[in-house]
């Protein structure tokens, strides 16, 4: 960890020495989980941010400087990392983070300091609740949970659902509650809810119990690290029900890790995927730029897209405000309307959440396929 930090610091100081006085630059902090359980998503989002930075490195004639810190997928570290960005690096705006628990811990600090923060893929409603300076470029979990429930009940015709929930994770607990609420409201029944804790690797006990309840569908609002092995173990234990998940399961490597066990898996996600038809121009540009700099087996994904959007939306706000003062950026961010991002047209609503459609992805024949968008019935 120290070594990574040292490397990051060295890189930052390297860049810093190139730049001139602080007034000539716009300082944007990036705080993401680059190590630990959420490193998967964090690193992809960082790549998205860096791509956007490469594409648009100046605003209002000033150079934009990025300051990257690792929140280590840890709530305490998240608060410390944010503090460092604000007090030591004196950033004017912050991008981050993946993970609602981390966003909440860091958000408290930004809110107090009055620095605007744009969340990438933290979807729990509490992240922006009652906050003046916290925004996000993703939709929120009530919408996502309702989307998954609608798809399970209406499109697939399932009546009995089970859930396997990470109790140590705000995102997972929140999403499972919203799924349950919508699913029962639509007329379905949740027959079993089992728990586990982040970092667990053995789910056989929970899965054996779930299988005995014979649900039609199992909803796993988990992170990718656990999700793939949950599916593997479920198949090993002879599960035949459908498995569904949320946006945190979105990862290009899902088939590589899960193999045959992830076939038929359905998940809600943000409306971007390299496999989608009729992409908007921004998404197309993003996809082409990614493919030009990455090897063919490394597909872009929605996390990278959200990182890209978070950076661009801040730049857009700075342009509209014609100022890079934190207060002005905050005001302009709140007024964002129809911003054309990779993940669709984004409008920031009064609770500072992004309003955008919900995409559905299905794994078919070992490939991620973008099924289209769904309108959730709340």
């Amino acid at each position: 960890m120290k070594r990574i930090l040292a490397l990051c610091m060295a890189a930052i100081f390297g860049f810093a020495s190139l730049a001139l006085a602080a007034d000539d630059t716009v300082r944007i902090g990036v705080f993401l989980p680059l190590t630990g359980q959420n490193a998967f998503g964090g690193q992809l989002e960082l790549e998205g941010v860096q791509m956007a930075h490469k594409e648009a490195g100046t605003v209002l004639g000033k150079k934009v400087e990025l300051f990257v810190v690792d929140n280590k997928s840890d709530k305490v570290e998240a608060a410390n990392a944010t503090k460092r960005l604000i007090e030591k690096e004196k950033v004017q705006a912050i991008i981050g983070t993946y993970g609602s628990s981390l966003a909440m811990a860091g958000g408290e600090v930004s809110e107090k300091a009055g620095i605007p923060q744009v969340g990438t893929s933290c979807t729990n409603p509490l992240v922006t609740q009652g906050k003046k300076y916290i925004f996000r470029v993703c939709f929120i979990d009530p919408l996502q949970g309702a989307g998954a429930a609608t798809y399970a009940y209406k499109t697939l015709g399932f009546k009995k659902a089970a859930m396997l929930v990470d109790v140590a994770n705000d995102y997972s607990v929140g999403l499972s509650n919203f799924f349950k609420k919508s699913f029962t409201k639509l007329g379905g029944q949740v027959v079993a809810t089992l728990n586990y804790q982040s970092g667990d690797q053995d789910f056989t006990a929970q899965l054996t119990k779930i299988i005995s309840e014979k649900p039609d569908v199992l909803f796993i609002p988990s992170y990718f690290a656990e999700g793939a092995i949950i599916m593997k173990q479920a198949k090993e234990l002879g599960a035949t029900f459908k498995i569904m998940g949320g946006d945190a399961m979105d990862n290009p490597d899902i088939v590589k890790i899960g193999g045959k066990a992830v076939e038929g898996f359905v998940q809600t996600t943000f409306p971007y995927d390299p496999s989608m038809k009729n992409m908007n121009p921004t998404a197309k540009k993003f996809t082409d730029a990614w493919k030009a700099t990455h090897s063919a087996d490394k597909e872009p994904n929605v996390n990278a897209a959200l990182g890209y959007d978070a950076y661009m939306i801040i730049l857009d706000a700075i342009k509209r405000a014609n100022s890079a003062k934190p207060e002005d950026i905050t005001k302009a961010l709140a007024e964002t309307k129809g911003f054309e991002g990779v993940t669709g047209a984004t409008t920031i609503n009064e609770t500072h959440d992004a309003v955008k459609p919900i995409g559905m992805i299905i794994i078919k024949d070992g490939k991620k396929v973008y099924e289209g968008e769904i309108t959730p019935e709340l």
Binding site: M1, K2, R3, I4, L34, T35, G36, Q37, A39, F40, Q43, V165, V167, A168, A192, L194, N195, Y196, Q197, G199, D200, Q201, D202, T204, A205, Q206, T208, K209, S212, F224, A225, A228, I229, K232, Q233, E236, L237, G238, D253, K256, I257, G258, G259
Partner: protein
């Protein structure tokens, strides 16, 4: 609960428990001989799994060869760790070596993060491991039976080495009194190096088995299983090889059966493992099979 379900739970417990047992054997052996809790054990465990991963994916070795190479490699690594981090502290108070082992643990973990990246990776599994046998409503994966057998074999092998060979005699002598062993002509450093070699090979073997059961590896994968195995070793009586196996299996049963009978408590099953540790430390600090060792003044 139907009988089939109970059998399924029991089999799941047996697999998990044997995995704990396998890790615990290595822990307990090093402790039994050196009175050192080798915290780096969980990182060697992780490296063992990674070496197989790299062997198969990078050098396209056949799986059994990759496993053998990994065990040899990690055994060498264990000896190196002893040479660099523990041997200079042989005469220092015991706590120094303990702290050194924590340092090694962090060091290896971070080296792994830098060089292997923190992202989880899927692990190759031989075909025959993927096909479950189906008996009624019970599904048995080959590894479910493979791991317990392996644990018992390793236990017997280790008992043989410790109680029936000359090196083992040296190990037992060192565990009693290191200075007297020197005086009696035991090549202490060599015996300790062999101890670490075997311990690390065992850690690698358990890491590889773990990765077969839960086919996803990442640099932090050793931490939690390491803690659990440590609990198992303490429960069985740290230093006792049979104790480690029994402790591991019992812990596996406690964890799975808690979830099976009290599904609502599923999220807190780690807590039960740690409650067990506290209970053992409070009421029977020597564990099931541990002998009371009086410290000499």
């Amino acid at each position: 609960m139907t009988p089939e379900m109970f059998i399924q739970h029991a089999l799941n417990s047996l697999t998990l428990g044997s995995l704990y047992a396998l890790i615990a054997i290595g822990y307990t052996m090093v402790y039994g001989i050196l009175r050192l809790i080798n915290f780096a054990h969980s990182e060697i465990f992780m490296l063992g799994a990674y070496f197989v991963f790299w062997g198969v994916s990078l050098f396209s070795l056949p799986w059994p060869l990759a496993v053998a190479a990994s065990i040899v490699f990690t055994a060498g690594l264990g000896i190196m760790v002893d040479r660099i981090a523990y041997r200079p502290l042989r005469d220092a108070p015991r706590i120094s070596a303990l702290i050194s082992s924590i340092g090694v643990s962090f060091f290896l973990q971070n080296v792994a993060i830098v060089f292997f990246q923190a992202i989880p990776r899927g692990v190759y599994r031989p075909e025959w491991m993927e096909q479950p046998w189906i008996v009624g409503a019970v599904r048995i994966l080959p590894i479910t039976l493979f791991v317990p057998v392996l644990s018992v074999l390793f236990m017997l092998g280790l008992l043989y080495i410790v109680y029936r060979t000359k090196t083992g005699l040296g190990m037992r002598a060192i565990s009693k009194d290191i200075e007297t062993s020197y005086l009696m002509g035991v090549n202490v450093n060599r015996v300790i190096a062999i101890t670490f070699g075997i311990g690390s090979g065992l850690a690698a073997a358990s890491g590889i088995m773990w990765a077969l059961r839960y086919p996803q590896i990442q640099p932090m994968m050793g931490t939690i299983p390491g803690f659990k195995a440590f609990i198992a070793a303490v429960f069985g009586g740290i230093g006792s090889i049979q104790g480690a196996v029994v402790g591991g299996v019992v812990l596996g049963f406690i964890e799975i059966m808690t979830v099976a009978f009290f599904p609502d408590l599923a999220g807190y099953r780690d807590a039960f493992a740690f409650i067990l540790l506290i209970g053992v430390l409070l009421f029977k600090p020597t564990g099931l099979f541990g002998a009371r060792v009086e410290d000499k003044v």
